[in-house]
Symmetry: C2
Subunit: 354 residues, 2 copies
DNA sequence: TCACCCTATCGAATCGATTCGACTCCGCCC
DNA sequence: GGGCGGAGTCGAATCGATTCGATAGGGTGA
């Protein structure tokens, strides 16, 4: 590691015998500089091994850091086990990367569902995307507001000065429930994603349900009930296959008379777990029990079935969020966006057994 | 959005009737400031809605941005479908997050396996971790060197001024191969992760093999051959279940005499695909064919088998890399680290059929 | 030949903090 | 009472670029 300090724009300018401002013009790609001068500056830069203007100094002046935060509620390993979260972020980067804007991960830790203020406060941010687990009362929101960092919330929260990008959660589950009702299902159970991030799992009481933290979780239950009336809801502790399997075992390993004829999982990952549970209990799908999911995720490891699900345009949702970020950084205020979903009937739902 | 410019440290200092330098002292948590003064400054800050010192300005002076880049070769969706990559990054953040340091994702795109220079050049970086797909001839390495950004390479590349953190790839596959040899396997095939990121799949020619881009891929083949002699290697186009299944079908759907008695996959994800292929072909594991993987990853959706595999401490590898980053940023030069691996015999390997 | 305009370059202010040496009190000790 | 030391505060330089108004010089048209 050379101890001599690295060359700066001023060093380069001096060697090229031009003013620093001129050298700056060269690197900013301005056309208003004579080719000969440009050459001289670039040659000087090459000679000194100058790697281009310091991003930090540039940011200070231009009020842009090229960094966009991505809030992923839980810790990394949990969040990225969810293929939907991954696809969403992939969509975001697809839009942002070509502009030289990077995504900074802001995970929570075991306790908190969002990033700590210490994390937020020290890092330069042009904008923030709430990619998962957006809470309306997140103290981070207030901090970002004060710093003037614009926020895009995917699937929630819906707050005044935050741009919302989401899907028709309600309509999706309404259609799914109609599909099930049409097949004669009356005893339907819902396997829900976490209502809050406190590690709770089990049947959901009305009190707990009233304190649901996440918009889409609430909406997806309401959609089912809009068609089928009140249904039992089983909460999982995480959006993961194991949790779905666990829930499935509890719901399905009961006397026939009590067993739901259909299980609606709030995500495909949970549905995959329910399918495993059914298989483990020797139940045939859909003859003995129908299973449906949500997302339309690609799960290449799924057994050779086509899951009945509500397909959402996850990657597109990410791209929309990415574009919203671009607009906000440019000073425009984009409209909220709600994307369409589509019922995708597969082989895991069938007529209710009698 | 209020149009008035946001308060700065100077504004706060003025309101509190102290010098900006004193106000700075307050926010840096210095003890050398009188409690009464501190109160006055904090009160002024609260009144103005000042969210704390601007991270960018702070970075300029302190030469720290609090941002560490994570190079993930492919695009996000591909990289994060790999549970090992996820666990690795989780380990990195576990160490970095508490220090208020954030991870910035640097994905490649369809064509390039690393981040583009445009991405790198515009973003502030204290250090970079090559999390996957480290190439020795990556032009980004040169750029980072010139900028004075220290680099930690996980699993590779091994380059002079880059800190290496890896595992005993070779010894792991040697032990695995010995295990198989002990069970009487002689006809063994390897399903390899991509040798280069060019979408190639199929049998590997000696020429192509010589041009293997990734250290660990090369080493893991050599380990097998060290014990079993030359083996056929089948390259996949990506480290994904579908690719493993595809490879498995080709390798196993042949006359019995040509069929390998054991398949060594270079990752558990690929092994899972091979298992699916075997199941699809009606082959019993391990009676008809043995299957082994690498990583010791948690695949909760795996059929109820325990995969024979080489377990590596992935999360610990991430933590070690994280600590190396901390050292480098502090100006220390940590040693390279090579972590132990352990053969984990499961239920997917058994005596070779005769 | 002169006024004018355009192009290429330059100077200086600015972005918002940090940092270190200097300075001012004030109390204490001799 | 004078000198000394330490606590608390302040000034000014600095980090490395960007940006805009100013300027010099050369070419054009009348």
């Amino acid at each position: 590691m050379s101890d001599r300090s690295r060359p700066t724009l001023a060093t380069v300018a001096a060697l090229a015998e031009v003013a620093p401002s001129t050298a700056s013009l060269v690197f900013s790609g301005s056309t208003r500089v004579a080719p000969a001068t440009r050459e001289r500056v670039l040659a000087a830069a090459a000679e000194l091994g100058y790697a281009g203007p310091d991003p930090v100094a540039r940011s200070l002046r231009s009020r842009r850091s090229g960094v966009v935060g991505a809030v992923i509620g839980e810790r990394l390993a949990s969040a990225f086990n969810d293929p939907v979260a991954v696809q969403l972020l992939d969509g975001v980067t697809e839009v942002l990367s070509p502009l030289g804007v990077g995504l900074l991960l802001l995970p929570g830790d075991a306790d908190r569902s969002g990033p700590t203020l210490a994390q937020l406060a020290h890092v330069p941010l042009d904008a923030v995307v709430y990619a998962t687990c957006g809470l309306e009362d997140d103290p981070a929101l207030d901090h970002l507001r004060r710093r003037g960092v614009p926020v895009v919330a995917v699937d929630g929260p819906r707050v005044d000065d935050v741009v919302f990008v989401g899907i028709q959660d309600r309509r999706g589950t309404v259609e799914l429930a109609r599909h099930l009702a049409g097949l004669g299902h009356h005893r339907v159970a819902v396997v829900a994603m976490p209502l809050r991030l406190d590690g709770t799992r089990g049947p959901v009481s009305p009190e707990r349900r009233a304190r649901t933290h996440y918009r889409e979780v609430r909406e997806r239950v309401l959609g089912v009930e809009e068609v089928l009336g009140a249904v039992p809801v089983w909460e999982t502790a995480a959006n993961a296959v194991e949790e779905g399997e666990r829930a499935g075992r509890v719901l399905l390993d009961v006397p026939l008379a009590d067993r739901p004829t259909a299980v609606v999982a709030q995500s495909d990952v949970l549905a995959a777990g329910v399918l495993r549970a059914a298989a483990g209990l020797g139940l045939r799908v859909p003859e003995d029990v129908s299973v449906a999911g949500f997302d339309g995720a690609e799960l290449p490891w799924l057994p050779p079935v086509r899951l009945t699900t509500v397909a959402q345009p996850t990657a597109e949702k990410g791209r929309v969020a990415g574009r919203a970020v671009i607009d906000l950084v440019a000073g425009r205020r984009p409209d909220d966006v709600v994307l369409d979903v589509r019922l995708s009937v597969g082989t895991t739902t069938g007529p209710a057994p009698r």
